[in-house]
Amino acid sequence: MASFLLRRTLLLLPVLWGVTVVIFLALHLAPGNAAQLLLGPLATPKQLQALELQLGLDQPLPVQYLSWMGQVLHGDLGFSISYHTEVSGLVLTHLRDTLVLAGAAFVLATVIGMLLGIVSALFLGRLLDHLINIVDFLGLAMPVFWLSLIFILFFGLHLHWFPTRGMYGVSDTSLLSLAQHLVLPAVALAAAPGAVIAQITRVALIGELNQLYVKVARAKGLSKTSAILGHALRNASIPIVTTLGLEINYIIGGDVLVENVFNWPGVGQLLVQSVLNRDYPVVLGASLLLAVIFVLVNLLTDALYPLFDPRVEVHG
């Protein structure tokens, strides 16, 4: 395990380097640069050149990349061209806010999803199972953007149950305010992943229910519920844990849309806006940090397998 963790952590470095090269190239290959976006239609070549000079965009690409890398290795992610502030501060605060939303959505999706999946398996073939399946398919079918708008109109505007924008109230940064603001976006974001987790849990459990050891447990006198929760669930956990890891990726992706609609000050919104503005330092800095998170999450998911299934050995 120790060598596995070491190898996988070291793997972070080439992955991160690869990410920076790809993103850097993609950004600079796109037509239009930060100077053009700043000046808009009011850009004569002379003024454009002057601005590019000031922003350091006149340098050849390898020079720009190396100077950026040099900064990063010193812990400096540079200065945002459109937001006129340090990239590290900007990206970290936005990233933190995204993790709050994504984390809440993930917990919701996992808990509710697994609950629904378990109940489905317990009542297999009965009305409750069918109802839950319908709910799952609805959750999968509804686009997260559309769902967010429906929530805002219905629960926000008509019923006034929850606030519809931002992370906190206007001058209220209490935990309660945060919780209220989290409800609608987190539920919208959790709908599809939750549905997937529910379905996978259900299928994985059903698979286990046909196994001999469950029949033995029942024969020994355990109730159906205890047999499922106590024994089958543990063995069904491998596919479930894999799904959880995959759904985290979806949540970070769908997060951009939810942030846009709810004006949640997260990194998704920041990234999209920065790409449109060709704000290279922000896009690079945010991509770097997101890549770190992805790699660490995958690492964690793989490292957890032995906990669930002692047959699995993690090799480096």
């Binding site: 796109a30 037509p31 239009g32 100077a35 053009q36 976006l37 700043l38 000046l39 808009g40 239609p41 009011l42 850009a43 004569t44 070549p45 002379k46 003024q47 454009l48 002057a50 601005l51 000031q54 922003l55 200065f79 459109s82 937001y83 006129h84 502030t85 900007l90 605060t93 936005h94 806010d97 805002i152 109109l153 926000g156 505007l157 006034h160 149950w161 929850f162 606030p163 519809t164 924008r165 931002g166 992370m167 906190y168 109230g169 206007v170 001058s171 209220d172 309660l176 305010s177 919780a179 209220q180 409800v183 846009n260 004006n263 000050p265 919104q269 920041l270 449109l276 503005n277 060709r278």
Partner: protein
């Protein structure tokens, strides 16, 4: 079983807590505060850094300029009480209002004024390194030198006469900054700013909210509001929703389709057309656009009234020339190009295209001032199809689009393209000269290679003409020619749309430049 029941009760209790205590973040609970929903978070509070009009809404409350617009075409004193121009038109001397202080108590002197312009233009200015100041060269490139003659008198010298210079001093990029504070803060000045306007920064949580409070040292009438909270709301539809839910009191440019509903629910829809123009450019250097009949035909072919009503929900005014009604140089007696497809077909036939032709039009998917680029493009495509012109639309993203426009029609191989232009300085020279003189051919802004020597002569004379009446006449004549030449397909002038709730008092859009709002005299009941 008992575990499940317990969990169920817990879930119910938590939801009750969350729902029950939700009053929403009603911006209206503090009566001295105005909550504004604007289009995105501000980018910088340094007056000269931002190029987006959205951030300038905030800057307008924090900074003053030397001169400003009143309610008509005449410039009013701002920080300058009076000014004079030398007879050769090269030197402008301003006398500054006495006793003015910045929000932090620093006195405002001619030094600060000179610094404000120097740092944008002079590499040797200590403030230059904290830029860039992208609009500096565009508006003030003519300034050769800024000199503080005395603490209350400043002299701006130009390298060539520019009759529009005073007008360009009204843009918020020329907001006078506190030299001491700017140099002390360095790169951090973007996060705080320091001006002499009615409001100053209270606190700013980037991405979430920006709060302004009253400037205790303000030289003018004390604002009625005690604070202004700015909330970034990216989707225009959401701004309407937040207004209805009471989270904001004022929404900037909500979705035009929601305006009728907002009006019927008791909100006030403030609208005013301003110095803005939306047009379709054509490549005059190649057939068929080199024929004036073809260009005129396209102008007759489109129904501007229908576009303004049906797509823009009246948030625009039909256009027949580059300048907007009310602007200096606007000519009320030009051909209106009223919708007339029959005449359009006749003109096309006379030009040698009885069966029309096929062409391509570039449409950006968004962009400041572009209103509804895709819907309008599709409508125009439809109107042109009716007279035999097949237009293939190419949609591209704004940044890529700007890149093409910057190259000019020939290099980028463009036939037709949509574009818009906002005249922030409200002076005709900043619209017509960059866009329509031969001297502005690519690499300049005259992307379509329009050329009319008489127009050039009139516009060059207009730039140097100091007498306002004569200047007006020169530009009107130029407008008449541009209209007759059908240099562009003129479409509309945009209106600024600001919707306020019942509690907002005394809000009015400035008729000369409505695209920036002024909140000093606004109150809440």
């Amino acid at each position: 079983m008992s575990f499940r029941r317990g969990a169920g009760f817990l879930a119910l209790a938590v939801s009750a807590l969350l729902v029950g205590c939700s009053t929403g973040s009603t911006g209206g609970t503090t009566s001295g505060n105005l909550t504004v929903g604007y289009e995105a978070d501000a980018t910088s509070l340094d007056a000269a850094q931002p190029t987006d009009i959205n951030t300038m809404q905030v800057l307008t409350q924090m900074y003053d300029t030397l001169v400003q617009w009143g309610t008509d075409k005449n410039l009013q004193p701002g920080l300058a009480t009076d000014w004079k121009t030398s007879s050769d038109g090269l030197t402008y001397t301003f006398n500054l209002r006495s006793g003015v202080k910045f929000a932090n108590g620093d006195p405002l002197t001619a030094d600060d004024v000179a610094f404000t312009f120097d740092r944008m233009l002079d590499q040797n200015s200590p403030g230059y390194q904290y830029g860039p100041f992208p609009f500096g060269a565009f508006f003030f490139g003519a300034i050769k030198q800024s000199k503080a003659v005395s603490p209350t008198q400043v002299e701006l010298s130009l390298s060539s006469p520019d009759a529009g210079f005073l007008a360009s001093l009204t843009v918020i990029t020329a907001g006078i900054v506190d030299k001491k504070a700017a140099l002390a803060a360095g790169k951090d000045f973007a996060n705080t700013g320091m001006g002499s306007g009615p409001f100053m920064l209270d606190k700013w949580t980037r991405g979430q909210q920006l709060v302004l409070k009253v400037n205790p040292n303000y030289w003018g009438p004390k604002p009625k509001l005690s604070s202004i909270t700015w909330l970034p709301i990216v989707q225009p539809n959401q701004r309407s929703v937040e207004l209805k839910s009471g989270d904001i009191n004022l929404a900037l440019n909500p979705t035009p389709a929601t305006l009728a509903d907002l009006k019927s629910q008791g909100f006030t829809v403030n609208m005013a057309a301003g110095p803005h123009i939306w047009w379709v450019g054509v490549n005059l250097s190649k057939p068929p656009f080199n024929k004036v009949e073809v260009r005129q035909a396209m102008n007759y072919a489109i129904d501007r009234n229908a576009i303004v009503k049906g797509i823009l929900y009246d948030t625009g005014v039909p256009a027949n020339q580059p300048l907007a009604p009310g602007q200096v140089g606007f000519n009320a007696n030009v051909d209106n190009y009223d919708y007339n497809p029959t005449k359009a077909k006749q003109l096309l036939a006379a030009a040698g295209y009885p069966n029309g032709f096929t062409t391509t039009m570039l449409v950006p998917t968004s962009g400041s001032g572009m209103q509804e680029p895709q819907a309008m493009g599709t409508a125009i495509q439809g109107y042109l199809k009716a007279i035999g012109i097949t237009v293939n639309i190419q949609e591209i993203e704004w940044g890529t689009f700007l890149n093409k426009i910057g190259q000019g029609a020939q290099k980028a191989n463009m036939d037709m393209w949509e574009l818009s232009w906002m005249d922030s300085a409200v002076d005709p020279w900043l619209v017509l000269n960059p866009l329509l003189v031969k001297g502005s051919w690519p690499p300049g802004y005259n992307t379509g290679f329009y050329e009319n020597p008489e127009v050039d002569r009139l516009l060059t004379a207009g730039l140097a003409e100091q007498d306002p009446q004569k200047r007006d006449q020169l530009y009107q004549q130029a407008e008449a020619l541009i209209n007759k030449d059908a240099a562009w397909i003129f479409v509309d002038h945009a209106k600024e749309v600001v919707v306020t709730d019942k509690s907002v008092q005394n809000f009015a859009l400035n008729p000369v430049f409505p695209f920036l709002i002024h909140l000093r005299d606004v109150g809440r009941s």
